[in-house]
Every structure is written in structure tokens, then in C-alpha cells.
């Protein structure tokens, strides 16, 4: 693309806010009432993180593997790509994330045993992604039908996944965080370009996660 410096973010926005939020309405209608199952899976993840069973298992990673593959296929590839051709190149990253989580599961699962401040930030992320996100529509003057639900929509899925990874002590955690972080950056910028007041949420969570991961790298392990 020539004269790239003359382009603004608005020049890459292919759709209107109305089309964007109606996309969630249609997606929710298509998969209702699967939301109860994904929310139950999310609550199970919170429980497994807060009260790890005596014998560690790959359950959290397996749940997230299934949900990343599901969201990547049903939402990004099959729905979002219809209004945003760039998503064709992004959707496979959700498949890659599912694969990485599956590898983590095959290796016995992540050790979700951190209890430092960063880990508690992770727990807050889990609460935001699984509990708070579906409750956002009225705050932003949108219908409930457009709710973004963990395991159905990408943003809450990415935020909750980051939450899990912030509680993990293994070296794979930063690698597994890359795709959720990049997605939240992309989603936040898209919302910001639409002048949507919700834009700060994915951007703030991504920024906070990067800060926690960076601080951990800078702070020597005790």
C-alpha cells in the first residue's frame, strides 16, 4: 500500500457500529442456549483456579482449547470475516491458540499455583471475562441480545484466558498470552475507531496483562 502514512484507522473500518453489534445479536441467537454451558465452563475454570484439586489435571486447558477453536470457527471465520476481510487472516490465530493450549494440556496442564499480586489480577480478569462481560450491554446503551459471553464471543474469552495464564507459574504462560493480547489490542482498536466507549476495556486489560508479565520478568524469583 503506497502512501501508508496518509491512512487513518478509520480508513480500515469497513463496517458501521450498528452492523458490528448486530453481529453479536445474530451470533447469540444462533447459539442460544449454549451460553449456559460456556458460562458453566467459565465458572468451573474459576473454581479450578481458586481451589485447585489435589491431583493436577489439564481440565482448564482442555476447556479453553475447545472454546478458542469454537470461537475462532463460529464467530471469526463464519461470521466476522463476512464484514471484515482481514479476519480471514486473524481467525487461524485462534486455531493456533487452541493448538498451543492443547499442547499445554497434553503436557499435563499448567501449574495454576501463583498467588502473587499478578495472580490476583488474573482472578479479576476471570471475573471480568466470565461474569462482568455479559452484563455490559445496558451500561453502553445496547440491547441484552448483543451481550458478549465467555466461550461464545472473542473478547471475554481472551480476557478470561489471560486471567488463567496470569495465575500459571510455568514458562509457557507468556507464549500462550501472545495471541489473546494481540486479539484484545485489535479488538480495542476496532472499538476505539468506532468511537465505542467500551474500547478501553480490552485495551486496559491487555495493557495490565503486559505490565504484569513484564514486571515478573524484571523481578527476580524469590
Amino acid at each position: 500500500m503506497s502512501e501508508w502514512w496518509t491512512y487513518r484507522p478509520e480508513d480500515f473500518l469497513l463496517f458501521s457500529p450498528r452492523v458490528y453489534w448486530r453481529m453479536f445479536e445474530l451470533h447469540n441467537a444462533a447459539f442460544w442456549p449454549l451460553h449456559f454451558a460456556t458460562l458453566a465452563a467459565g465458572l468451573a475454570i474459576i473454581l479450578l483456579v481458586l481451589r485447585p484439586p489435589p491431583r493436577r489435571g489439564p481440565w482448564v486447558e482442555l476447556i479453553l482449547t475447545a472454546l478458542w477453536a469454537f470461537v475462532g470457527w463460529t464467530f471469526l471465520w463464519s461470521r466476522y470475516a463476512a464484514i471484515n476481510w482481514a479476519i480471514v487472516y486473524v481467525a487461524p490465530a485462534f486455531g493456533v491458540q487452541a493448538l498451543l493450549l492443547a499442547i499445554a494440556a497434553a503436557r499435563g496442564g499448567l501449574a495454576l499455583d501463583r498467588r502473587d499480586t499478578g495472580a490476583w489480577v488474573g482472578v479479576v480478569f476471570l471475573a471480568i471475562g466470565i461474569v462482568a462481560y455479559p452484563l455490559l450491554p445496558p451500561l453502553f446503551d445496547r440491547p441484552w441480545r448483543s451481550a458478549e459471553v465467555f466461550g461464545i464471543a472473542p473478547d471475554p474469552t481472551a480476557i478470561a484466558t489471560l486471567g488463567v495464564l496470569l495465575t500459571a507459574s510455568c514458562r509457557l504462560a507468556p507464549l500462550l498470552s501472545a495471541i489473546p493480547l494481540l486479539w484484545l489490542l485489535l479488538s480495542g482498536l476496532t472499538l476505539r475507531t468506532m468511537s465505542d466507549p467500551q474500547a478501553w476495556l480490552p485495551l486496559l486489560t491487555a495493557g495490565t496483562a503486559v505490565a504484569v508479565l513484564a514486571l515478573r520478568r524484571l523481578t527476580p524469583a524469590k
Binding site: 469497513l14 463496517f15 452492523v19 463476512a82 471484515n84
Partner: protein, 305 residues
């Protein structure tokens, strides 16, 4: 080049534009203004329909029907040119849906684009676009933003010679690559160019619009409202009382009349999702148009707001 009354009239005569002289109505009441495509002499209505963003509604059945309603109102009001691109997401299949629902109006003037850096992919992309529209052939295919322009122009001129398309064009937007654009206009037998021009974005007046008149190239104007930004900014301001002299009853009509009154302009392609707006847009071409002096007054008024 500054547009004086003299050059204004001269260019109008050269382009065969049916615009209004001062104080003279452009045509009969309610009859949409038509402009002549210089390379063929074919007349087309001067207000078309753009589809950037507005028609990219995916598979949403409600919004697809709304787009079809806009198309129905557009054709009913006397519109003809619909412009799209493979870059516009789902706009092409949405146009195809609307055309199918409307029984494929024979007044349609289909304006498409080729948008790929690969020369080899050009014909495949054009064919896919044609299938999306459900059209027998496109009236016009343009090289979108000059992407891969050399190879695509070869393809398009060959398609025109083979009667697979009727007209060949190039596009730019927001003032980009005007030097190259001008060179291509001089060196190739183009039928159409598409560029950004409105009451605040007037760079095209300097070289491109006079060159289009000189070379006998039809001009499609994109982003007449700066993607709605201009009309949104102006909506809080009252329309000047003298806008009634040119028959403008809204800021959208005010801006469109400014654009259409330039004698080099063939078609302006505002995009909208609303039936009332598409009617209003097409109606902008039905009444009197401003002369050169009035156009400067209009530009100064908007600049000073």
C-alpha cells in the same frame, strides 16, 4: 487552475454537462439531472449510490432488506449508478441480493473495481464480483486506488475490446497519488476516473477535473460527505437562507449541488443506509445548480463555519 465563470462554461460545453446557467433551472422539475459519458455519449443520472461501509452488513437478513429498500428507493427516484469494490466486505453480495429482490432493474449502471496486487488474480476477482452481483457483465470496472494498475489496465482494456465490460476507469480517494493519477489520465484512453471531491476537499479542481474535461473522461466523485463526517459537522448549523436559491433544503443537498455543479463531474456517489436520505440525495440533482460565483460563496460559507 482557478475555476472562473469562463472556464466553467467552457468545460461544461466540452463535457456535455446539462448543468444550469445562473438563474436557469437545470431541467424540468423532479427530473433527475443526467450527465454524458464523454467517451460514448451515453447519459446517466448524476447522483449514484456508493456502498462503502453502508452495504457491508454481512448475512444480517434485516440489514440486507434495509439495503434492498435503499436500492429500491434509489431506482424509483431515477438513480442508476451503483458503485462497489471487492474491498467493501460483503457489499457485493448484498447488492446482488438487492438486485435479485428488485427484479434486476434494467436502468442499473454497474460500477465495480478490481483490487488486488496480483495481476494474475485480477480476472478471477472480477468474475467473482460479477457472480456476487448476479450481473451479466459490468458496465464499468475501475482499478481500485491504483493497486497493480499497469497489469489491471491491460486486463480491463482487453475485456472492453472483448465486450466483457463497457468502460474502464481508475480510482483514488482522499487526494492520494494525484501525480500518478494524472499521468495515467494522460497516457491511457480511460473512460472514467473516480476521485474525492467536495466543498472542503477541492484539490481535484487544480489539475484532475480540468484534465478530465480536456481528455473527455467521465468523473465519479466519491466521499461527497467525507463518509458522513461533513454532514454531521454541519447539522448543528442552520442552512443559509440563500440555499433556497439553488433549491437546497438540507446540508446534504447543499454539498451535492456544489459537487454536481462542477462541469467536469459526471456522477457523485453518496452512500447511505436510509431511504429518506437516498431520495434526498437523488433529488439534489433535480433542481437548479449553483453557478461559479455561487459555488465560491458556498465554499466560503462552509469554510467559515
Amino acid at each position: 487552475m482557478t475555476l472562473t465563470r469562463r472556464t466553467f462554461v467552457k468545460a461544461a460545453a466540452a463535457s456535455g454537462a446539462a448543468f444550469a446557467l445562473p438563474g436557469v433551472a437545470s431541467g424540468q422539475a423532479h427530473a433527475p439531472l443526467t450527465r454524458t459519458i464523454p467517451s460514448s455519449g451515453e447519459a446517466i443520472p448524476a447522483v449514484g449510490l456508493g456502498t462503502w461501509i453502508t452495504f457491508n452488513v454481512g448475512d444480517d437478513p434485516v440489514l440486507r432488506d434495509e439495503c434492498a429498500d435503499v436500492m429500491a428507493a434509489f431506482f424509483e427516484a431515477g438513480g442508476s449508478t451503483i458503485d462497489s469494490s471487492p474491498m467493501y466486505g460483503s457489499s457485493q453480495p448484498v447488492i446482488g441480493y438487492g438486485l435479485e429482490r428488485l427484479g434486476r432493474p434494467d436502468t442499473l449502471f454497474s460500477a465495480e473495481k478490481v483490487w488486488t496486487s496480483s495481476a494474475a488474480d485480477g480476472p478471477t476477482q472480477i468474475e467473482q464480483s460479477r457472480r456476487f452481483w448476479g450481473a451479466e457483465r459490468f458496465d464499468l470496472v475501475q482499478v481500485h486506488n491504483l493497486v497493480g494498475w499497469e497489469a489491471h489496465l491491460d486486463t480491463l482494456f482487453a475485456m472492453k475490446a472483448d465486450e466483457q465490460i463497457r468502460y474502464v476507469g481508475i480510482t483514488t480517494s482522499e487526494g492520494r497519488r494525484h501525480d500518478l493519477f494524472e499521468r495515467i489520465m494522460r497516457d491511457f484512453p480511460l473512460d472514467f476516473v473516480q476521485l474525492t471531491y467536495n466543498v472542503v476537499d477541492r484539490e481535484a479542481e487544480e489539475r484532475l477535473l480540468p484534465l478530465a474535461a480536456e481528455r473527455g473522461i467521465a468523473v465519479i466523485v466519491n466521499r461527497p460527505f467525507r463518509q458522513g463526517e461533513l454532514t454531521q459537522q454541519l447539522e448543528s448549523e442552520p442552512l443559509p437562507a440563500w440555499a433556497a436559491e439553488i433549491g437546497a433544503s438540507s446540508w446534504a443537498q447543499f454539498i451535492l449541488k456544489f459537487i454536481l455543479a462542477h462541469p467536469s463531474v459526471t456522477v457523485a456517489i453518496p452512500a447511505t443506509t436510509r431511504v429518506d436520505h437516498v431520495r434526498e440525495n437523488v433529488a439534489a440533482a433535480a433542481g437548479p445548480l449553483p453557478d461559479a460565483v455561487m459555488r465560491e460563496r458556498m465554499a466560503a460559507h462552509v469554510r467559515d463555519l
